[in-house]
């Protein structure tokens, strides 16, 4: 039986050789001091390195960028591993992140071979290279993934110093299934000196390919800050097998995106409940809905948001993944085809303000009556006129403004639509071409023709049970409890007057636009605290309960740090907030997205010479990328108190949030 095992198991053969060597040493020296455990381990380390060394090659590059992700790119040389004798090699994408003009593989005997980059795995950060050798290359042997155990020896091998000799670092396997299940962890010194090289076991079999990686970031160079720290990562050989097969087809593997935002304060503790399904995303196509609790991904149960992320991280764009959700006590199975990029939703603009039915106080007529046509808009160009009613879109009747809005929101800018329009008993068809939203604030939009009550404007206040903050509230002239008004929750710049005096610039614009303005005081006058975002959320909820609010015209806004806080509130109350106003405010926090079911428009006012003007400019660029409906209001050169003319422009913009 021992004989059979020796034949079948190469490990046993190695052990036998070691044992033979040990016996010889032990027999030769009676004191036998040299033959202690650690000497034997050293021998085993060297034997392991000798075994894999022929497959570990140097990678040189010519040209390329000097900086990658804000870091000075190394000029190499670096390391790669031959995985197939025909000339396929794997390396860490970090080694090629500078996009070199040429990649050259240098073999131990000094020969150079031109390499081509076949494709890269952008999730696990490894690249497949191909050389055309004259004779077969020595390829590395992989360890059986099922046998890998935490605590076993792990030797990191590189060739960064010398093409003739490998450099080695010794440690153990510290963890499996790290970085969302993408890597194993080792305490061997892992650095640019061995990125792209193998992590091997005591038999010289590859456990994984060394890469910089970080659980916190997906950037190209993320994780390199942990070099030589005792926290190193390797992409496991088991996963590589599948990856290589796919990479050989020549297309990069990209992380697969589903397109949901989860409703979770902490990814570690909360269940994966869907807060938002992105428009045009795989999640939407699969039928996921807000409120769904995801219970299984690709057949594996998930209980926490982190587990869901881990399961999704195993898949790539293009993969079909089965998803099970719990919805109203039922478990629903669906399939989603993951994508590399979620196309941002861009809402098309027709260019009208519909009649506000309740405000008009008339029984709802068939269709959507047009209150105002924006000059130069698609509606204007197509000849639509105020007072007409839109009764059908592309042949399908629309009952009211809400139906029209939903129908248009599903289309794309650039698409032509056909509108059936009725007026004075006559019908005609117009064919506007939808456009993306313009960045300018529409001038001179008439106030809604609301039949307002006789109430004079009124200043009142709101308090929250759990918060010390008091909020001053202005109810506009003519506000009635049964006619919906707009709502603005305004977060003042720290240090500026709060309380009732902060309402002053808003009063006249609020009267004109039928806008309720709520202005809370910061708990400490000099600054807003991050947790006061919760206060603002609670206040928004309270104001929406207490007053009669048109849900289409709810905005949060603020100046400077108040604006930054408003951005957070808008992100957290996406389903309620339709408008976000930032005056010299920095955008910090997760990006907000527009969505056909819960629209979001953003108004940014920025002083050119403000302390953060540059950063705000960059944020604007990011918002444009996300295709959010954006309006920009230029301010005076230096930041200062909000003027009434600015408040009027903001109030006018909020009054148009129900545009179509």
């Amino acid at each position: 039986m021992a004989e059979r095992a020796r034949m079948a198991n190469p490990r046993r053969a190695v052990a036998t050789k070691i044992l033979a060597a040990i016996m010889a040493v032990a027999a030769a020296t009676a004191a036998a001091r040299a033959a202690d455990l650690e000497t034997l381990e050293e021998e085993a380390f060297r034997a392991a390195v000798d075994k894999v060394a022929p497959a570990v090659v140097q990678i040189e590059t010519v040209g390329g960028q000097e900086q990658v992700a804000g870091m000075l790119a190394g000029s190499g040389p670096t390391t790669g591993v031959v995985i197939e004798p025909a000339g396929y090699l794997i390396s860490s994408s970090f080694n090629l992140a500078h996009d070199p003009a040429a990649i050259i593989v240098r073999l131990a005997d000094g020969r150079r071979l031109a390499a081509t980059l076949v494709a890269a795995d952008e999730s696990r950060k490894v690249s497949l290279l191909k050389v055309d050798p004259e004779e077969p290359l020595a390829a590395a042997e992989f360890a059986d993934p099922a046998e890998i155990r935490v605590g076993q020896w792990a030797i990191a091998v590189g060739r960064a110093f010398d093409h003739q000799r490998p450099n080695i670092a010794v440690g153990i396997v510290s963890g499996l299934d790290r970085v969302w299940g993408k890597a194993m962890q080792t305490d061997a010194a892992v650095s640019p000196n061995n990125y792209g090289g193998p992590l091997v076991d005591l038999h010289g079999r590859v456990l994984g390919i060394l890469v910089p990686m970080s659980p916190a970031s997906d950037e190209e160079t993320a994780g390199v800050e942990w070099y030589d720290s005792g926290i190193g990562f390797a992409v496991p050989g088991g996963a590589l097998r599948t990856i290589v097969r796919r990479l050989k087809q020549g297309a990069n593997l990209k992380p697969g995106l589903l397109g949901v935002t989860l409703d979770s304060a902490s990814v570690m503790t909360s269940a994966p409940r869907v807060a938002q399904v992105h428009a045009n995303s795989p999640a939407e196509e699969a039928g996921l809905r807000r409120g769904d609790r995801i219970v299984r991904i690709a057949g594996r149960a998930v209980q926490r948001s982190a587990e869901m992320r881990r399961e999704l991280a195993q898949h790539y764009a293009g993969d079909q993944v089965s998803i099970a959700v719990e919805r109203g006590g039922e478990t629903i199975e669906m399939e989603a085809a993951l994508v590399a990029r979620l196309e941002p939703y861009e809402c098309p603009v027709l260019g009208i303000l519909p009649e506000r039915q309740a405000a008009a106080g008339k029984p709802a007529a068939d269709g959507a009556p047009v209150r105002f046509v924006f000059p130069g808009s698609p509606a204007d160009k197509a000849g639509l006129a105020e007072g007409e009613r839109i009764v059908a879109v592309d042949g399908e009747p629309v009952a009211d403004a809400a139906a029209l809005r939903a129908r248009i929101a599903r289309r794309k800018p650039g698409e032509a639509i056909s509108l059936l329009v009725a007026s004075n008993g006559q019908q005609r068809t117009v064919n506007p071409t939808l456009e993306p939203s313009a960045e300018s604030i529409p001038a001179a939009v008439p106030a809604a023709l609301a039949e307002r009550g006789e109430n004079p404007g009124e200043t009142t206040s709101l308090t929250l049970p759990d918060w010390p903050n008091r909020a001053a509230v202005y109810l506009p002239k003519g506000y009635r409890a049964n006619a919906a008004a707009g709502l603005l929750l305004w977060l003042v710049a720290p240090g500026s007057p709060a309380g009732a005096s902060a309402l002053e610039p808003w009063k006249s614009p609020a009267d004109e636009r039928g806008l309720i303005v709520v202005v809370p005081e910061p708990a400490s006058p000099e600054r807003w605290l991050g947790r006061e975002a919760e206060m603002a959320e609670a206040l928004l909820r309270l104001a929406m309960q207490r007053f009669s609010i048109d849900p289409l015209r709810v905005a949060v806004g603020g100046q400077e740090a108040g604006g930054t806080l408003a951005y957070l509130v808008a992100g957290r109350r996406r389903e309620a907030v339709r408008g976000l106003v930032l005056v010299d405010g920095l955008l910090a926090g997760p990006p907000v997205r527009d969505d056909p079911r819960s629209r979001l428009s953003i108004l940014i006012a920025v002083s050119n010479n403000g302390p953060h003007a540059g950063q705000i400019e960059r944020s604007l660029a990011a918002l444009r990328q996300l295709k959010l409906p954006l309006a920009v209001l230029p301010r005076d050169a230096a930041p200062g108190a909000l003027e009434e003319s600015e408040a009027a422009a903001i109030a006018g913009w909020i009054d148009c949030l129900d545009r179509i």
Partner: protein
């Protein structure tokens, strides 16, 4: 328990039993290691000198190499003061005097006035190969104070390599053999520390903090005693310390791409790849068969990573030298030999 797979673990256990009789082998080895390390620690001293501002530490490590107070360490700004203090492992605090330094190796010898000190004779030094387990002793980060002996780190020799082979990658005058280590020994205060084998035999001196410019990492390395011995002998003999090694001289009448008839693409980026834009008809480059769009990748076997690197490398070649250029043409590497013939001289 799974640190060592079963077959090997079995082999090791048998061997250990053979080696150490019935005694618990590992424990025995550890206590022996401790005793040997204590002996080395006794010869390691803490050096305090100039610095302590602008990120420069005012301390480093040294090794007693004679019973009469000779201390081997690395030359650094720390030693740039007449008020050097050397603290022995028993806490004695002695004045140190700089006997001399070798600017090429950056090695220095100090002297303290004392006799009968514990020491390690440099002549007893051994050498080791990659994969050898080692201990590095130094006062890294100044953790050891007073009579506390130097801190000990463990690791393996990652590679034994020549720094000269990586010219331009390191900011040190030294170009020779080093032990690169897999332990993080590049720390403030480590310079002048010692590297020993697991059984306490002297291998090398820890170098000063050194950045590897090729990949922006700190290099953990030690200079073998064998490399230092001649310099130490010269200092002890009162000889003049060697001048720093000169960078390799440029040729008096250097070669250039233009002289061989190569027109490279304009060098506008920090790392412009040296693509051949045009080849002058009838030139040495044309006769060697070089073509437009070839990418120069090596010169005389060394990688050329940019237009700038190629220009600099050519400046070290004589105008009439025969050079080998490696170029990437499509998917294959082609190597050609060329030189400017003497008769083409104006």
């Amino acid at each position: 328990m799974n640190a060592i797979p079963t077959p090997i673990r079995t082999a090791l256990m048998i061997a250990a039993a053979l080696a150490a009789g019935s005694a618990p082998a590992a424990a025995g080895a550890e206590s022996e290691t401790g005793e040997r390390l204590a002996k080395v620690q006794a010869a390691v001293v803490k050096i305090f000198g100039a610095g302590g501002f602008r990120g420069l530490e005012a301390y480093q490590t040294g090794l007693l190499i004679s019973p009469d107070g000779h201390v081997l360490t690395m030359m650094s700004p720390v030693l740039d003061t007449p008020a050097l203090k050397v603290v022995l492992d028993d806490g004695r605090r002695l004045d140190g005097k700089l006997l001399g330094a070798d600017a090429r190796l950056d090695v220095a010898v100090l002297r303290v006035e004392a006799e009968g000190l514990p020491y390690i004779d440099p002549l007893s030094a051994v050498s080791a190969e990659a994969g050898t387990r080692v201990f590095a002793l130094s006062n890294l980060f100044g953790v050891a104070i007073g009579n506390e002996p130097a801190s000990v780190q463990q690791g393996v020799i990652s590679i034994v390599t020549d720094l000269a082979a990586r010219q331009g990658a390191f900011d040190i005058p030294f170009s020779g053999r080093v032990y690169v280590l897999d332990a993080v020994t590049s720390n403030p205060g480590s310079a002048g520390g010692v590297l020993v084998t697991r059984d306490g035999r002297l291998l090398a001196i820890l170098g000063k903090e050194l950045r590897n410019r090729r990949n922006n990492t700190w290099l953990n390395y030690a200079i073998p005693i064998a490399e230092l011995r001649a310099a130490v002998d010269a200092i002890l003999a009162g000889g003049v310390a060697a001048a720093p090694a000169e960078p390799p001289a440029k040729a008096k009448d250097p070669l250039s791409a233009g002289l061989v008839g190569l027109v490279l693409i304009p060098d506008i980026l920090p790392r412009t790849p040296p693509y051949i834009d045009a080849v002058v008809a009838g030139s040495p480059a044309a006769r060697a068969g070089l073509r437009p769009d070839d990418l120069v990748v090596s010169l005389d076997g060394s990688l050329v990573s940019s237009c700038k690197a190629l220009a600099e490398a050519l400046e070290h070649r004589d105008r009439f030298a025969t050079i080998r250029l490696g170029v990437l043409r499509g998917r294959s590497l082609v190597e050609v030999e060329l030189s400017v013939p003497r008769e083409e001289r104006r």
